[in-house]
Symmetry: C2
Subunit: 394 residues, 2 copies
Amino acid sequence: MKFEFVNPTRVVFGIGSLARLGAETARIGHRALLVTGGGSVKRSGVFRRAIESLEKAGVAWTECAGVEPNPRLTTVVRGASQAREHGSEVVVALGGGSVMDASKVMAAAVHYEGDPWDMMFHGERRARPPRRALPVVTVPTLAATGSEMNDGAVITNEKTVEKSFVIADCLYPRAAILDPALTASVPPDQTAYGIADLVTHVTESYFNGVDGTPLQDRWTEGVVEIAMEYGPRAVRDGGDLEARTQILWASTVALNGWIGAACGAPYPVHMIEHVLSAHTDVAHGAGLAIVSPAWMRFAARTRPERFAQFARRVPGLRPESADDAAAAAEGIDGLEAFFRSLGCPTRLSQAGIRADGIARFAADAVRVGGAEGRVGGRPPAGAADVEAILRACA
Amino acid sequence: MKFEFVNPTRVVFGIGSLARLGAETARIGHRALLVTGGGSVKRSGVFRRAIESLEKAGVAWTECAGVEPNPRLTTVVRGASQAREHGSEVVVALGGGSVMDASKVMAAAVHYEGDPWDMMFHGERRARPPRRALPVVTVPTLAATGSEMNDGAVITNEKTVEKSFVIADCLYPRAAILDPALTASVPPDQTAYGIADLVTHVTESYFNGVDGTPLQDRWTEGVVEIAMEYGPRAVRDGGDLEARTQILWASTVALNGWIGAACGAPYPVHMIEHVLSAHTDVAHGAGLAIVSPAWMRFAARTRPERFAQFARRVPGLRPESADDAAAAAEGIDGLEAFFRSLGCPTRLSQAGIRADGIARFAADAVRVGGAEGRVGGRPPAGAADVEAILRACA
């Protein structure tokens, strides 16, 4: 293990912590760009409670509404422009992963010289990451992306139909208000996709990271176990606040570096999925539930012992086979069955994605999400591999 | 779960990372108080490599040597005074837990008005924690206390024969240089005590924390498993760098808040042990190896199911009994046997501590480490309980 790690985000966790938003924001600044999505926070009353908390703490705000799923570069540019006009000192992200990701890139775009798309990693073209950003306070209303406590964001360039990511120290939120009660109104399908997302975050590290990270292995297995224990409860009964609590915390730690930093893994399933949600309106987590098992079957051929270990250690999977390759296959089947049991699609066709786009998706995956004609991972996947993976889950 | 968490320490982990000390320190300041212990870093050559790295980065330094095990208040006062005279902008802690703890309190004492002992928690008397401190860079040469990446420190007041702790945000080290190779020269006994220390950090949270922290449970079990797998290797062969790597990382994450913050646990075994190492020269980790199983037997009477869960989930313990109380007892016996197998004492007499001091130790434990006549925990322990715990491990 050889790595660097830092994560300065302050976490305020617990049911009712939304009431702390104003005070935590006022510690940072008194003029906020308040970023929201499609309106669910207004229907649920969360928006009203958020602005009451901000106003009580003396924070003036202007709303940047309408961040779409798979947030677009033009939306980022619009938000940054609004923050500049308003003289915002802080950005408050009130919503799901799309809102949080857009908020972070808006915060960086305020100070960025040139096209914000240049911040993003996109394969062969070299990214120019941001060095400064307005401070961000995240208030997730969905447990999924982990964006609330990390330094990454994913944005879609609707002109080039490319979805790519940026990672930079300045994007760590200053504070994260994690109130599990805010996720209680998330419908079953979105809840399920969030669970597929958090599970995939840790399995990407587990299966693509460096050797010799036994503690991270155990922690990953723990996250997957929690997802398998509490995920079905959260899908079945959105108001099960104990389940919502455990799932929100699991989604946060799944991608805040506590597990992943030491693993140094590329994220091939994400790189492949990003193409799907750039070209179609599939939800990111749903796309991961489709691609993840198919990618695992591809990778398990090279390292069956690693996949067998995972299957044998996660209580909800427990394969019967003594043979590694067979145990690996049972474990992957079990994880796929788990995604299906939550209501996730596990085939492209179930998400309305037609097989005739697969060759294009594979070409885009290695071009936008890879380097030297391959998507990183163990093993790396060339365009033909990605095409085979996608055909296997068509 | 309801908690707040922040940990801004930047970690540079890996064999060879000592060479990064100068550059990481120079990012913070160019005049360093370099704090060391009894001279082992000079014998091992680590000191020479550290100052070469500092000087290469243009950092001027003055050494504050001679921090003793169970570091004393007078040493803290001496270091703070030296830092003021030198105009130190940063404190570099090069040593074990004592050096790191003393360094942190020196860094705070530089700005503190009044007696630094007032910073410390001591039972009925109310502490006045520091709000400012010089930035600290930790370079642990021993895997044990986790002080390298947390906001706590333990100091002994030699006049009152009291050992107490301080916790404050300003004490988080700015950076931690975690080089497992520096721990290769630690002798077997100190290596073993460090392992007892890191194990006790996570078990204190596990057995005294709030209910409903299943992810933290799994992560704790993972830390104990890693300790049981790699600890014996590190004790047997100090030069086993893979074992040193895993143990150093386990000791860091055992007390950096990643597991403990959400648990909000008091640390009764530590409060009891602090009395032993205030009154005798027992090593802190050795004292924990003695007190921990005895405290567990006391607490398991109230919550056998919790101790049975722990025993059943940690692969190295695996009790045979179906009955919770019996499984709990088997697990505690197993953990005690593990400490013994490493070479730790598990009886006061083996550490040369006489039984005739027990009544005084118990009285001091509830006075210095407790409140309202009891040491916190599940269940809380009055002086009579603490006395019984200590007699059980006499």
